[in-house]
């Protein structure tokens, strides 16, 4: 995973196949509180990918309901702590803070963007879904997803590259 991450550059298109974990606002709060109290986390964080998403309920016969990314900026205050504990990638949408950028450089991790608002389409890349923690949080619970060719783009790399900043400058006319 370390080798894969270090070679990625902002703007690269990637497809993810394997296991990813959903977590958003309340789950992040709990994960970080657990780390601070020295407790064991509901999944082994090292080398993993977190998807900022709260899925719609799965209709009968489907592995998962619609599942697109939520705004990453709301997780900015939690992300550096998780990255410092071995998280390798986050999938979300929208620009992020300088603190997150610094953490990615320092700990060799990446931030990937998936397209927001195309959640039915993104659900078609999910093969299975299992609720693994915080069921009382409803859509904010942590789900373990098995994905195949899940499409994303490198938004921030481990070298300080930031697609949101760079691409805006290319197309900005004022």
């Amino acid at each position: 995973m370390d080798d894969a991450v270090v070679n990625l550059k902002a703007g690269d298109k990637v497809e993810i196949t394997g296991i990813i974990y959903t977590a958003r606002d309340q789950a992040h709060k709990r994960l970080v509180e657990s780390i601070q109290r020295g407790e064991q986390l509901p999944f082994y964080l090292k080398g993993q990918i977190i998807y900022y998403a709260g899925p719609a309920p799965a209709p009968p016969g489907k592995a998962v309901g619609s599942i697109g990314p939520t705004t990453s900026a709301r997780m900015d205050s939690y992300a550096p702590i998780l990255v410092s504990h071995g998280l390798k990638a986050m999938i979300g949408k929208g620009p992020r803070s300088g603190e997150v950028k610094d953490a990615l450089i320092r700990y060799n991790a990446v931030y990937l963007a998936a397209t927001g608002g195309v959640a039915a389409l993104l659900s078609s890349y999910v093969r299975s879904s299992e609720l693994i923690a915080y069921p009382e949080l409803g859509p904010e619970a942590i789900y373990k997803l098995e994905v195949e060719n899940f499409p994303a783009i490198v938004a921030m790399d481990a070298w300080g590259g930031d697609l949101y900043e760079q691409s805006r400058l290319i197309y900005r006319e004022i």
């Binding site: 703007g11 619609s66 900026a73 949408k93 397209t115 195309v118 959640a119 039915a120 389409l121 197309y171």
Partner: protein, 279 residues
């Protein structure tokens, strides 16, 4: 007087919530198709193609177009000759409850904003706005809207001396945040009124069909000018760079106080959800 049982409101709100969440607004889909050729960023084009694919898949698979099935805002226009038998607010909430539980839509409402933030489990309460109008009909507009676009929205009481220039500057400042609201966005602007009315005006502006122009020519011109300026920001589809940051800008105005220039800027994402019915 025409008597209408509120059970009818429940049934209609239920079906409108399901429809709005699975069928992308046809004018938005048309605008995405029409503006695809104007996008110069390859990633931007790819994102717009994903939006079209997603809209098709959502209908075929009967899935919500976006997982954030949102706050449900309901606009009710009730004819003065109508008598609604029963509690209309409860009837709307019951419709939302049925749609969100039975229709596999995500429940996104927490009862307490500050402390427990516990999910209400049925996406209620809905946020209901009622207008009394002429006639013997009831018009129901349902607008489920995600938290991302809501968070990007802004309201400011500007200085009267700032005039038009200050209004434009504030709209452009708000538009800098469009990357967080799933662009290409719809921009709704309210100008005038009071602190409470201006936000509602901006939100109602989002409901207007994309080809619609404000009947006041000066306002229509301002809508066109702001759209051009916003699409020079470079934010682009999904915020990943490009020309198509907004699909349209809609402005509504109303009288205000001699000391006031309230302005509100509301956003809707490209996954714009809206459905309506008339009883």
């Amino acid at each position: 007087m025409r008597e209408i049982p509120v059970l009818m409101i429940t049934e209609i709100v239920d079906s409108l919530c399901r429809k709005a969440n699975t069928v992308l607004r046809p004018d938005v889909l048309e605008a995405i198709h029409a503006m695809l050729g104007m996008e110069v960023s390859p990633t931007g084009v790819e994102v717009m193609e994903q939006i079209i694919k997603n809209a098709d898949l959502a209908v075929v698979e009967q899935l919500p177009i976006c997982q954030d099935t949102g706050y449900v805002t309901v606009f009710l226009e009730i004819g003065r000759e109508v008598v609604l038998q029963g509690n209309v607010y409860q009837a709307v909430d019951e419709g939302v409850r049925r749609a969100y539980i039975d229709g596999y839509l995500r429940k996104s409402i927490v009862s307490c904003p500050l402390f427990e933030r516990e999910n209400t489990g049925d996406n209620t309460p809905a946020f209901v706005n009622i207008d009394m109008v002429a006639g013997d009909k009831v018009r129901i507009v349902v607008m489920p809207k995600g938290g991302g676009t809501e968070n990007a929205s802004q309201l400011r009481m500007l200085s009267v001396a700032g005039e038009l220039a200050a209004v434009k500057e504030f709209v452009m400042e708000a538009a800098e945040n469009a990357a967080k609201a799933c662009p290409p966005v719809i921009v709704g602007v309210g100008i005038g009124g009071s602190f409470d009315k201006v936000g509602l005006m901006a939100k109602k502006a989002l409901l207007r069909p994309i080809p619609d122009r404000n009947p006041d020519l000066r306002i229509a011109q301002l809508e066109a000018e702001l759209l051009t300026e916003i699409n020079k920001l470079g934010i682009g589809p999904a915020g990943l760079g490009g020309r198509i940051t907004a699909l349209t800008v809609k402005i509504e105005t109303m009288p205000t106080h001699i000391a006031c220039l309230p302005v509100a800027v509301a956003f809707n994402c490209h996954a714009a959800r809206q459905a309506e019915a008339i009883i």
